[in-house]
Symmetry: C2
Subunit: 135 residues, 2 copies
Amino acid sequence: MTNLSMTIGELARRTNSKVETIRYYEKIGLLAEPVRTAGNYRSYGQDHLRRLSFVRRSRDLGFSLDQVRALLDLALHRDWSCDAVDAIAKEHLAEVDRKIADLQALRRELDSMIDQCGSGSIAQCRIIEALSPKE
Amino acid sequence: MTNLSMTIGELARRTNSKVETIRYYEKIGLLAEPVRTAGNYRSYGQDHLRRLSFVRRSRDLGFSLDQVRALLDLALHRDWSCDAVDAIAKEHLAEVDRKIADLQALRRELDSMIDQCGSGSIAQCRIIEALSPKE
DNA sequence: GCTTGACTCTGTAGTTACTCCAGGGTCCAT
DNA sequence: ATGGACCCTGGAGTAACTACAGAGTCAAGC
């Protein structure tokens, strides 16, 4: 076992977040209070790193903190019925699939713009249409 | 041409947003002021629907309003050099690809949980690990 | 062993992106 | 001609950060 231990600044760097955000997550109970050093500095370990990374990346994917909390609960599925886990997982799966489809549509359009650019000028741009309601 | 025209409430319903959010976007200049009816009601057309849909879905995918503005500018690429369009599009493309990869990892884990549930109970859950830094 | 600069602490105020009233006007089906 | 569902403006409230201020900690170098 790697007995990793880091300061709040290092954790922030590794999870691409701000120091203040980490303290904020601690305050609202999303991240467990870490142990403190003799000088009262927060000291984080591997599980803090994993959990915070999950939170930050989920947020970056457009999930609210409440949804992130639900996903974390799902992850720990402490004494839950399989039916409940199944229902919640399926709901999230549907949303994830929707997001993937939207991102792929956006991706195609960005790609096509870069392509067109390579050949001199941009003939057309449909990135707005990529995320518009299909009629 | 379909000469579509709708109230703010209908636009909200069609774009999965709140009436107040639309008025807020108008206030900060993200959405053009629509024409008004005799009774001072906002009246929206096809392009408002498209643009707002793009904004809402981009937001749902975790882009900030500033990023959305950049994408919209890119979409309209009024008198921009191809180099500029290319650079910005490539930057966004990289981020989009990252997001797709993360969502697919999350998707796999949710899928596997649903699978395990089907066969009685959950043996393991790795959704946190799915979005953790790979060591 | 003392300084100095980068980092941490708590607490509070500011920002972004909405969201929710209050108090009133409009529209239209009965 | 009236009740209910909608719209208007303006302002306050919420979620999720983000940025100080003022003070303490730590390790490197002299």
